[in-house]
Symmetry: C2
Subunit: 320 residues, 2 copies
C-alpha cells in the first residue's frame, strides 16, 4: 500500500495524524496533492458546510467553541476551518480564541485547523475548497468555516457553504451600514452576539427592518437570533436554526444548486491556480530581471502595461 493510500485509509477513521498530514500537503502544495485530491473528491458527499462570518471582535471563535460542544451532544462529528488573516508582515499568530477550543483536543470527533491567509486572495479560497474536500472525505457531519471581515470574502464563503451565519454585535448593526457592506443578502441566519450589551434590541430591530425590505430570494426567511456566546446563551437556538435551514435546502432542492456551485468554483479555481502558479514561478525565477523592470516603472522610464506585455510573452501565453 502506498503512503498516500495509508493516509487516506487513516482519514476514514478521522485519524488526527493522517488528517494533519494531508491538510499540510494541501496547504503547502506538497507533491502528491493533486493525486490525493482526485481520490478524496470521489469519497465525499456527506458533510454539511456552515460559514460563520462577521467582523473581528464579534465573538465568532467563542461561539464556534460552544457550537462544537452542542454539536457533540447531538452526536455529530465536527471540523472547523478558521481563516485567520494574521499579519503577512510578522508571521506571528495570536492564538487567543484557538486556545479555548483546546477543550476538544483529545476528542477524535473534533478537528480544528487554522489557515493563515497568505498570498493572493484567490489562493486562500482554493486552499479552503481543497481542505473541505479533505474533511468531507473524512466524513465529518459538520464543517464550520470561520472567516473574518465583510465584503468580497463572504461571497466566496457563500459559494462554499450551504448555510451562512452572519455574527454581529450591538451597535454595529446600523442597517444602512450592514446593507452597504452587502451582507444582508448573503446570510441565511443573522446573530446578534454579546446580546447582554446595550443596544442589542435596536440592532435586532434594525436587521429585521432591513431584511423585511430586501428582495425575497426564496421561501427561506432569514431569522435574526441573539446570543451571549461566552456563557452559552442562545447557542442551542443557533444550532436548531442551522438544522432547520438544512432541512429547508433538502426540501427546496437547494442542495443540488449548492453542489453545482461548489463544483463550478472548484474547477474555475483549479484553472486559475495553475496559471497563477506559473506566473509566480516565472517571476520568482527571474527576480533580478523583474526588479529592474519594476524599478524602471517606478522611475517612470517605462509604463507598467508594456512591461507586463513583455512578461506575458515569457509565459508562453498567447491567448489571442
Amino acid at each position: 500500500m502506498s503512503g498516500l493510500d495509508k493516509l487516506i485509509q487513516g482519514i476514514v477513521h478521522k485519524d488526527p495524524w493522517s488528517l494533519g498530514r494531508l491538510a499540510r500537503t494541501i496547504d503547502d502544495d506538497l507533491p502528491g496533492k493533486e493525486e490525493a485530491l482526485v481520490q478524496l473528491h470521489a469519497m465525499g458527499g456527506h458533510s454539511r458546510v456552515v460559514g460563520i462570518t462577521g467582523p473581528p471582535g464579534a465573538g465568532k471563535s467563542t461561539l464556534i467553541g460552544k457550537l462544537i460542544r452542542e454539536g457533540r451532544k447531538r452526536d455529530r462529528t465536527i471540523a472547523v476551518l478558521a481563516v485567520d488573516p494574521t499579519s503577512p508582515y510578522s508571521g506571528g499568530a495570536v492564538l487567543g480564541d484557538r486556545v479555548r477550543m483546546q477543550d476538544h483536543a483529545t476528542d477524535p470527533g473534533v478537528f480544528i485547523r487554522s489557515l493563515a491567509t497568505r498570498g493572493h486572495m484567490g489562493g486562500l479560497s482554493r486552499s479552503v475548497q481543497h481542505l473541505i474536500i479533505l474533511l468531507d472525505a473524512a466524513g465529518f457531519d459538520l464543517i464550520m468555516l470561520e472567516t473574518v471581515g465583510v465584503g468580497q470574502e463572504e461571497v466566496e464563503v457563500k459559494d462554499l457553504a450551504q448555510t451562512t451565519i452572519f455574527v454581529t454585535v450591538p451597535g454595529l448593526g446600523d442597517g444602512i451600514q450592514a446593507m452597504k457592506a452587502g451582507v444582508l443578502e448573503i446570510a441565511d441566519i443573522y446573530l446578534v452576539n454579546k446580546a447582554d450589551q446595550p443596544m442589542a434590541d435596536s440592532t435586532v430591530k434594525d436587521l429585521q427592518t432591513m431584511l423585511s425590505m430586501s428582495e425575497v430570494r426564496d421561501s427561506w426567511v432569514p431569522p435574526v437570533l441573539t446570543s451571549v456566546a461566552t456563557d452559552g446563551t442562545g447557542v442551542v437556538g443557533v444550532m436548531d436554526e442551522m438544522d432547520r435551514h438544512f432541512d429547508h435546502l433538502e426540501v427546496s432542492g437547494g442542495l443540488e444548486g449548492w453542489r453545482f456551485s461548489v463544483a463550478g468554483s472548484t474547477v474555475t479555481e483549479a484553472v486559475r491556480g495553475r496559471v497563477e502558479e506559473s506566473i509566480r514561478t516565472l517571476l520568482d525565477g527571474n527576480s533580478a530581471e523583474f526588479r529592474t523592470d519594476v524599478e524602471r516603472v517606478s522611475r517612470k522610464k517605462e509604463d507598467p502595461m508594456s512591461v507586463a506585455r513583455r512578461w506575458l510573452a515569457k509565459l508562453n501565453f498567447s491567448p489571442d
Copy 2:
C-alpha cells in the same frame, strides 16, 4: 486631436466630465483603456494616497466627508475612491453616506467615485490601481481610498497607500481580536471614532498596549487618535498626523520604497489581469460545455482537477 487626447487634456484641469469618462473606460475595460493608462502613467507622480480602512459602521465615510472639508481649507484638491462591496446578488447600492459627500458636488477640487466590488478580488485591486493612475495624472493633492473590512484586502491597500488609517469604534478594539485580524502591523495611524460612546478610553488603551508589544518596523510610532466624525471633533488632528506621516516618509526614504512597491504590484496585476481575462473569455464563450463539465464534477462522475486540466489545454497555456 484624438478623443483620448482631448480627455487627457480635460483631466489636467480636473474637468469632471473627462475624469468620469476616463474612469468609466478604466472600470468597464472599454477600448482605449490601455493606451490611456500608458499616457496617464507618464503624467503622474504628485498625489499622496491615504488608505482609510476599518469595519463597516465605524463611520469612515462621515470621517472622509469631514477630512475633505478640512483638506479644502488647507487648499488641497482631493479625490476619494470608495470601495463599496454592495451586494453582488442584488446589484442595489445604498447611497447613505455617499449622499453626505454631495456637499462637494460643485467643487472641481473634489472628485468622488464609488467602486462596486465585482468579480474576483484581484479585479478590484487592479481597478483601484488604475484609477489611482488616473487621479494622480489629474494632479489631485490627496487621494483617499476607503475600504471596508479587515483581512487580505488591507494588505492590498497597504501596497497602494503611503499612509494607512485604521478606523475602529469603542468596544471593537479588543486587542487580541485586532491583532488576530492582522491590522495592527498594517496601519500608520489608529483612530477610535465615535469616541463619545462608552468604552472609548479602554479601546484606545487596548490599541496602545498592543502597539507597544508589536515589533518596531521603523522609526514611525503609530499614534492612536480619537474622533467624533459626526460633529467634526478630532478631524484636524487626523489630518495633522497624516501630514506628519508623509513628512516622515519623505525624510526616511520611505517614499522610494512605496513607489517601487506600487510599480511592482501594478505590473504583477497587469500580467495576472490579462491571463484572468483570457480564462473568463474562454469559459464564457463555451458556457454550455463548461456547465456540462461542472455537472459531471458535482455528480462525482469526474474530479475537478482533471476537468481543470482539460480547460487549461484549451487556453493554449503550456507553462511546463
